[in-house]
Amino acid sequence: ISCLRSPRNPEQKIIKRVIALEGDIIKTIGYKKKYVKVPHGHIWVEGDHHGHSFDSNAFGPVSLGLLHARATHILWPPQRWQKLEPMLPPERKPLRREQE
C-alpha cells in the first residue's frame, strides 16, 4: 500500500495498493482498455474498494517518480491499530508476469 502524488491534482496525495509493476499485463475494471500492459517505469495502483475508488482504473498507470512513501501501519483510531500486510487480492493477480 503506497502513498503517491495524484497525477490529476499535484497538491493531493492519495493512498492506494500497488497491483502490478512494469511489464505485467492485467485485466482492468472500468478502464478504457480491457487489458493493459504496464509500461516501463510505471505501476498500476488500485483502491481496495473497487468501483468507488479514484485509481489507475480512472487515470491509467502512474509513473514511479510520483511514489512518495509506503504505508506500513495504521496508528489511529486505536481500535484499528494494525500492521498493514502487503497482500494482493487473488482476483487481481496479473495475467502474465514479465519474468515468466
Binding site: R8, P10, G41, G65, L67
Partner: protein, 166 residues
Amino acid sequence: MLRNALGKTFRFLGYTVQYGCIAHCAFEYLGGIVVCSGPSMEPTIQNSDVVFSENLSRHFYCIRKGDIVIVKSPNDPKSNICKRVIGLEGDKVCTSNPSDFLKSHSYVPEGHVWLEGDNLRNSTDSRCYGPVPYGLIRGRICLKIWPLNDFGFLRASPNGHRFLDD
C-alpha cells in the same frame, strides 16, 4: 586522552548530521546546481553546461509556460530530464512534428504539463511519451553558471511558434 578523542568524534558526528540535514533541506526545498548533458536543449543549454535550479516554484505551483524545468523521467524514475514547458493543463498543444503534413492538436490533461526540448529535431519529449504529471517536476532552472562566457539568465525559446495562444 581516550575520552577527549571520543568527545571530539561525537561532536564531529553531530556537526556532520546537522549540516547533512540542512544540505538535504536546501536541495529539496530551495535549489541546487545541476550539470546538464545531452543535445536536446541546444542552443539554449549545451552539453555539460552547469545551471542553477530552484525548487520554490514547484512547491508554490507557479511554474509558467516557457520555463525550463528539471523533471523526473516518466520512464526511468532514477534519471532526470531537462526540458521547456510548452503547455500547462488545459492548454492546446500541437502534438505533431514540424515535418508532418497534417497537424494534430490536443489539450493538456488536468494536473499535467507538456514538455519539449529546444532542439526539436533531436529531443525525446512529450511528443514521444505524452504529457507529464506536474508531480514529477523537480525544479525550475533560473540561471546558467558555466560556461562563464554564457553566464546569466536563460534565453527565451527559439521555437516561439510551438506556443499556441488561445
